[in-house]
């Protein structure tokens, strides 16, 4: 039953650059894709582990900074990717080791502090990070001889990475380990009593989450060809979280829908609505207040209600 819409969605995504009017929208679509990867990463923690991180922009950004430094140092793009992701994983491990000492609000606050420290370094340690001006890079990689320089090439490459991320999430969520993680979210104490290593499960989930955040960060770097402290700011973490929450936590589709919403609001709608910041904030508030479990579950609920109401009629 779900095969058909899935196939349709895949075909639509794969052919998007062919029917989108103009490269601008293709570029927006690329942005949506890498932000969706980021949101999927954040969702591993916020959704499936019940751990709300407000410091993930730190991981998103550190991948980009590490990548930019590596490119500036003259490394090839595959080495750059390895360096960026390894740096992200190490940072994620440090983040996790510290943040997992708290749960609930404690976890949130520790991640805020960690994210702010990364931001502080990006912003102030000018000799390394170039401060406010950020680091500009030139060129995008040529994986398997395919140029990513054009918006279309980049879109397709990002789409492949996005599909990989999505597939990895789908497999992960349905796996025994995914089930273990969701168990630690709902009943950490019981999970411990069932013999699970709750800390280690969360730690590994953090790494998984950090990995995809880093991948998204690297794509951001290649897309924008620069990195600057704004990428690491608290608002960037909050935006990623907003994507997850507005779309629906602990769903595969939710973060993607959320990424569409936020990117479109910020970039497309801002061309038409002068007070787009206000509207963005208002959407934030309305979704959280009136659709607390997010757009995707909320829509499903409304649809189910409508169907049953129709069925009765």
């Amino acid at each position: 039953m779900t095969r058909f819409p899935l196939a349709l969605a895949f075909v639509a995504l794969a052919t998007l650059p062919l029917w989108m009017p103009g490269t601008y929208y293709v570029n927006i679509a690329s942005q949506i894709l890498f932000y969706a990867i980021f949101a999927l990463g954040v969702n591993v923690l916020a959704g499936y582990a019940g751990l709300v991180s407000l410091g993930h922009a730190g991981l998103f950004g550190i991948a980009a900074y590490a990548g930019a430094k590596a490119i500036t140092a003259g490394y090839g793009h595959s080495v750059v990717a390895v360096i960026a992701l390894a740096t992200t994983l190490v940072t994620a491990a440090v983040f996790a080791a510290l943040a997992l000492r708290g749960t609930g609000l404690g976890f949130v606050m520790i991640t805020v502090a960690l994210g702010q420290i990364v931001w502080g370094v990006a912003y102030r340690w000018i000799s390394i990070t170039n401060g406010d001006n950020g680091i500009t890079i030139t060129g995008r990689p040529f994986p398997f001889g395919l140029s990513l320089a054009s918006p279309r090439g980049f879109y397709w490459a990002t789409l492949v990475v996005f599909l990989l991320a999505l597939a990895s999430m789908a497999v992960f969520v349905a796996s025994p380990f995914g089930a273990s993680l969701q168990g630690t979210r709902d009943q950490p104490r019981r999970m411990n009593a069932l013999g699970y290593h709750v800390w280690m499960i969360r730690f590994l989930a953090f790494l998984f989450s950090g990995f995809w955040s880093g991948v998204a960060g690297l794509l951001y770097l290649y897309y924008n060809q620069f990195v600057s402290p704004q990428m690491v700011a608290l608002t960037a973490s909050a935006e990623a979280l907003l994507m997850v929450i507005s779309g629906g936590t602990a769903t595969l589709l939710g973060p993607i829908v959320g990424a569409v919403l936020v990117v479109v609001m910020k970039n497309v709608a801002s061309a038409y609505i002068e007070r787009w910041n206000f509207v963005l904030g208002a959407i934030f508030v309305v979704i959280v207040v009136f659709m607390p479990d997010g757009l995707v579950p909320g829509t499903v609920r409304v649809a189910r209600w409508a169907r049953s109401a129709l069925g009765r009629a």
Binding site: Y24, N27, N224, Q225, R275
Partner: protein
């Protein structure tokens, strides 16, 4: 139906440069309006200057009845949010979706740096205020024109004035800790020290600093202070400087002594000496027109940002007149832009050098109280100031770019 048209467009476009506008060339009839894209900041902390930029642009277009060189003009404003990534997306929007012919803006150097490569690839003329030095020096962008000046271009004359007219010997600099601040103070230092003065200390508060007193506390052993803040920071700095009871004279850059900021200052700004590419009391017809229009429309005294965009409008107009209103040949249009030479502008006469940067008059002003208002009184003009000051261009470009640590402090 639409699909098939688009597919064809794709097939044609795929072979060519994909960054260029996707509108078929045939559709770009000369009868369509000239599209000017304005990259500015209308939300967030940098919005003040960004809104002034928009006002200056609109003011100019109103003066010309939205017609330049016989062609109607369409203005499309993009709000970057003061964020490099947002700037990148907005320029893509303006270039790829709206098919603009030229870009005014952006505001901040970090925004400009984020889009420079893209704009060059897209062959998109940019008329910006952002002062990043290397944009017209070591990493020039062939499609870039700057009628305002580089960061240091404002400071070279100020340093000259400080050393030769004010006879200052030892100075402390304090500026925002980002490239704009670094470049300004480095430029000041070079000229000031070449004229026999000494910079004894350089202080760098972060861009976001609620309280400057930890830095102000380090000011001692100098004849005067040079501040190089931007945005709302000059205001905070002057207030806190006064509160600590320091009495040393303050010299400021263009953004610190900006006319648009004067209404926010109190008496602490009286006596500040600043140097800018624009000055409110300049007696040219266009400046009068600008000021009257701004006051009438917005109740605002124009400053660097609105005047800068007004002037960009004049530059675009002059270039369009030269090309007969044509913008399609980008190479010809950028040549025309760079060949512009104007006399009646709100900043007086100027031309461009081979790198697209302005050669024009810079003004030393003193901030004074006139009735219940603060005004700037011009006390000296430096005409035909180049970004290289009086230095040899080759020598200048062979030096490292102005930065936080270059030139170094003399110990």
């Amino acid at each position: 139906m639409a699909l098939s048209v688009d597919r064809r467009r794709f097939l044609v476009g795929a072979g060519g440069l994909t960054l260029a506008t996707t509108l078929p060339r045939a559709a770009r009839a000369q009868s369509r309006p000239v599209k000017i894209g304005l990259l500015t900041v209308k939300t967030g902390p940098l919005a003040s200057g960004g809104i002034q930029m928009e006002q200056g642009t609109i003011r100019f277009l109103k003066d010309r009845n939205y017609t330049l060189a016989g062609r109607k003009v369409e203005l499309i404003v993009g709000d970057t949010g003061g964020n490099p990534a947002g700037t990148k997306t907005k320029i893509q929007e303006l270039v790829e979706r709206d098919g603009v012919d030229m870009i005014f803006g952006p505001l901040a150097a970090f925004e400009l740096l984020a889009i420079s490569d893209y704009a060059a690839q897209a062959k998109m003329p940019i008329l910006s205020l952002a002062a990043a030095e290397d944009m017209t020096q070591r990493k020039p962008n062939a499609y870039f024109v700057r009628a305002s000046g580089t960061s240091a271009q404002y400071m070279h004359p100020l340093a000259d004035y400080a050393a030769k007219e004010m006879k200052l010997k030892r100075l402390i600099t304090i500026a925002d800790d980002f490239a704009f601040g670094h470049e300004q103070m480095a430029g000041f230092q070079r000229v000031f020290e070449d004229a026999g003065g000494r910079i004894v200390k350089k202080l760098w508060p972060p861009l976001v600093t609620p309280d400057y007193t930890p830095y102000i506390a380090q000011i001692s052993g100098a004849d005067a202070v040079v501040q190089g803040f931007a945005g709302s920071n000059p205001l905070k700095f002057m207030k806190q400087y006064q509160d600590t009871g320091l009495k040393l004279p303050v010299l400021g850059n263009g953004t610190a002594g900006d006319e648009a900021l004067l209404k926010s200052y109190g008496d602490e700004a009286v006596g500040m000496i600043s140097c800018s590419a624009y000055t409110g009391d300049l007696d040219t017809p266009s400046n009068k027109k600008l000021i009257d229009g701004m006051v009438k429309d917005y109740g605002n005294i124009p400053g660097l940002y609105s005047a800068g965009l007004y002037i960009n409008g004049q530059v675009a107009e002059a270039a369009l007149e030269k090309t007969g209103g044509k913008t399609d040949d980008r190479e010809a249009f950028i040549r025309a832009l760079r060949a512009v030479s104007l006399t009646d502008t709100p900043r007086g006469p100027f031309t461009f050098d081979r790198l697209g940067n302005v050669v024009g008059t810079f003004y030393i002003r003193r901030t004074e109280r006139k009735g219940d208002k603060l005004v700037n009184t011009t006390i000296k003009s430096y005409p035909k100031v180049s970004q290289f000051w009086t230095y040899d261009e080759k020598w200048f470009l062979a030096q490292p770019v102005y930065s936080r640590d270059y030139p170094p402090l003399k110990s």
